[in-house]
Symmetry: C2
């Protein structure tokens, strides 16, 4: 039904043709360029270098111009869809007139509805954490979920959602704005981690789950997990946060910023309005290359690739040459058409803004209430979103999300401790020593603030695994055992 | 005189006009795009996001199309120029029919010409390490050089060169190929770190300096320094290597690969033949952003920027928003027109290929000799460069630069030890614990292989400084003292 609605909303033959004409002009200028370089000085001291990786990018550009419109619906299938058809007001004042949440479940909800575990995903993951009858592809946490596994589906009813802002079924920039019938693109409102979590609790309301047995997540999923435990404490029984943080530090912001810039600089990006034209596949590929470097660590690559080359009997090349380069190239090649660029922008920005400090939570709450009041007066739309000036909330401290009055490290810690003062659930905080994106220092910080807030049941582990940030996806022996122990320990 | 030669070589009014027309077509397609987004669904749930950072990129593109041709000659001035007017055969078989080396000196060469120190630069630095009468701008190592300083110009005659492959006076892709009168662009031959060092020794020959008092360098400069000490041992008295490595590991290759890909994917790059058109300024900016993240570390940014925002009374934005983002934006903005994209490609590739292992050195030596022999038979040009197949050198082992027979970590270490067996000079190896690009593990490796090779005068220090890889540029207290101690210690 939703798909039919989309098809009705985009009878965009004309607009698409115009966009393709523009893209054509762009490619023409690119494809004309080789003429300049294919008449190199043949009598020069050396022959010109070859650029097979650029040839491939240009060939993909041509394919995309000729091919069908983009769709992310085929990437992940078999999920359930919950539609919340009331307005959802976002923390920064933006509005979603209605909300879809794609979700999948495993195991059985027990009679008193007390055995539900919510799994929160990382940045670009879908709800497909594990295979099932409607989608037999292995999920992104396939080995961690199942009968007898770390998250035991014989004991627990497991739920996983696609985050709002994503592109795998939940409402995101690729969705149609009901107010116009057109895709949101970058009229989509800014999201926070708590917006994502609040949307998940709407789904839990629908499933009549008042209280989760546990909230579990790694990376951005760990942010959601901490957020759920701290801001919705009555609904969370146990907390697991793996390789996440209590507030994003500038180094990880910088790494995500570099990715967003690569994406936005792609001429196809067109300020987010690319759905009727050619996807910003080049920017996505570049962004993914940077991301992959931050997800893995040196020790693993040293063992796996070392300094081995793709074609050792050939001279070195500027295009992928060492095996580590071809690995990054293939990785990013696969990703660049499978995840929506606008989703990457919005969801990664939500990660940057994450800060569980009390002052930040208070300020966002005040903004949301302000926008709600405005919406009541003018129900057609919200003008508080995106680029109007934030209202002045005189009784709120300027938060650490802004240029804070809070400056010293003691004040920052106190603000964080106050922010988690209601998170008294048994908590497992897990860090990986080779993680450069969410270093163990940040894992210790989560454990410390929980303990200082008075939580006496905080377990803190550090792993010396070699997979860096991605350890949570791979190391079922260590990560799996820690999860299982925490979930099944009778405390 | 050189400049006059360039002017004669590029009376390119026609070619330039054609290139600008092409770039115009490209910009047209870009500048037409806003029309798509400036008619957003005004009645939508939210207003569209703003993209001032994309506006700025487009405005720079227009400025560059209207402005004068690129020049790097104005970025650094006041250097001396040495021209070696014989053919220079590169390790990978490429040919430079003649060679310019830009250099600067400080202090006085003593009577027996025994007090010379050669400073090797990092990737994008010029010969301007310190100010002097012909260029009073502060140099990149201003505080480390001078009377009484770490490198004491009252005692030493200090030389610094722009590396070949660079764009600040030495022969690089931006230089004219004497065979054609046109700029090399990507007909420039692949370089190795030893090519760079061999060119520097040609300059030292010209200055009649047989033996350096010391060879000093950090980052890529440390690679050169180690290379000089190991492969030209009779010419190097002492060795200082800071934050470098004995062989590039896959993690740092991956980080440089991501930068090169961003650069090459810029439509203006045109496979390196952009000198008559618009520079690939967007790709350079993106590459610099990634580079800057790898040059600095978390601890410093946490203190310097924390989570402070540019305009805390404004709502969050997808363009630069946190102070760390505006910092990266400004940093890269300044750099993107000041360093040549092709230089970045060639010099960073030389870093990736660096491996002081004996098998690699032997193989490169054999390749060079092979190319020299070919050149004698056909003096007009070398066809061994860039993309012809390497010859089979049967009596050489397949090297670690290829898919090596050498696989185990013991064999790799033995090969490295054999590679530095002649580097018996007093050596200072300095590492920084917060450096993610050249981690201390790699610094220890240099010290270990030198010691295992029999060098009994290896000093190894680790600093807990917070500036990451860039510590060598900043921390004059710790880095400066270590250098001074090593240079002036009577051993």
């Amino acid at each position: 039904m939703l798909r039919t609605a989309y098809s009705r909303a985009f009878p965009h033959a004309t607009l698409r043709r115009a966009a393709i004409a523009l893209a054509g002009a762009r490619l023409l200028s690119t494809s004309a360029s080789p003429k300049l370089h294919r008449s190199p000085p043949l009598s020069g001291a050396n022959p010109p270098m070859e650029f097979p990786c650029i040839d491939r990018i240009e060939s993909r550009q041509r394919d995309l111009m000729a091919g069908p419109e983009p769709t992310y619906e085929k990437v992940v299938t078999g999920y359930e869809l919950f539609t919340h058809d009331k307005a959802f007001v976002c923390d920064h004042g933006g509005l979603l007139p209605s909300l879809d949440i794609a979700y999948e479940t495993w195991g059985e909800l027990n009679a008193d509805r007390s055995n539900a575990i919510l799994i929160h995903t990382g940045l670009s993951a879908s709800s497909h954490a594990h295979s099932h009858a409607k989608n037999t592809n292995p999920g992104w946490w396939e080995k961690f979920i199942g009968p007898g596994k770390a998250i035991d589906t014989d004991r627990f009813f497991v739920v996983c959602t696609n985050v709002i802002g994503g592109c795998y079924g939940s409402t995101g920039p690729w969705s149609a704005d009901p107010a116009t019938g057109k895709r949101y693109a970058t009229t989509f409102p800014l999201l926070t981690i708590n917006d994502i979590v609040r949307a998940q609790f709407l789904l839990l309301d629908h499933l009549r789950i008042d209280r989760l047995y546990a909230s579990v997540g790694a990376s951005m999923g760990g942010m959601q997990s901490l957020c759920a435990a701290a801001l919705h404490p009555s609904r969370v029984g146990r907390l697991i946060s793996i390789s996440a943080c209590a507030r994003s530090h500038p180094y990880s912001i910088a790494l995500r910023f570099a990715q967003r810039q690569a994406l936005m600089a792609d001429p196809n990006f067109n300020r987010g309005f690319y759905y009727d034209g050619v996807l910003p596949h080049i920017g996505m590929k570049l962004a993914r290359q940077v991301a992959t470097v931050t997800y893995r660590s040196g020790p693993e690559w040293e063992l796996r690739f070392g300094r081995r080359r793709r074609a050792p009997d050939q001279p070195p090349a500027l295009c992928p040459d060492f095996l580590i380069e071809t690995y990054l190239d293939h990785q990013s090649e696969r990703f660049c058409l499978q995840y929506d660029a606008n989703s990457l922008l919005y969801v990664s920005k939500a990660m940057d803004m994450f800060d569980i400090s009390k002052s930040v939570t208070q300020r966002l709450h005040a903004q949301r209430e302000h926008a709600r009041a405005e919406l009541k007066q003018n129900p057609r739309s919200s003008n508080s979103g995106n680029h109007t000036v934030c209202m002045n909330v005189d009784d709120q401290p300027q938060s650490a999300a802004g240029n804070s009055a809070i400056e010293t490290s003691d004040e920052i810690t106190d603000d964080l401790v106050a922010g988690v003062k209601d998170a008294m659930q048994p908590a497992l905080i897990l860090g990986v020593q080779s993680d450069i994106l969410f270093p163990v220092k940040q894992q210790k910080e989560i454990a410390d603030i929980l303990r200082r807030a008075g939580n006496s049941r905080v377990t803190y582990y550090e792993l010396d695994a070699m997979y860096g940030h991605d350890t949570f996806l791979i190391d079922v022996v260590n990560v799996g055992a820690a999860i299982k122990g925490h979930l099944e320990n009778d405390i």
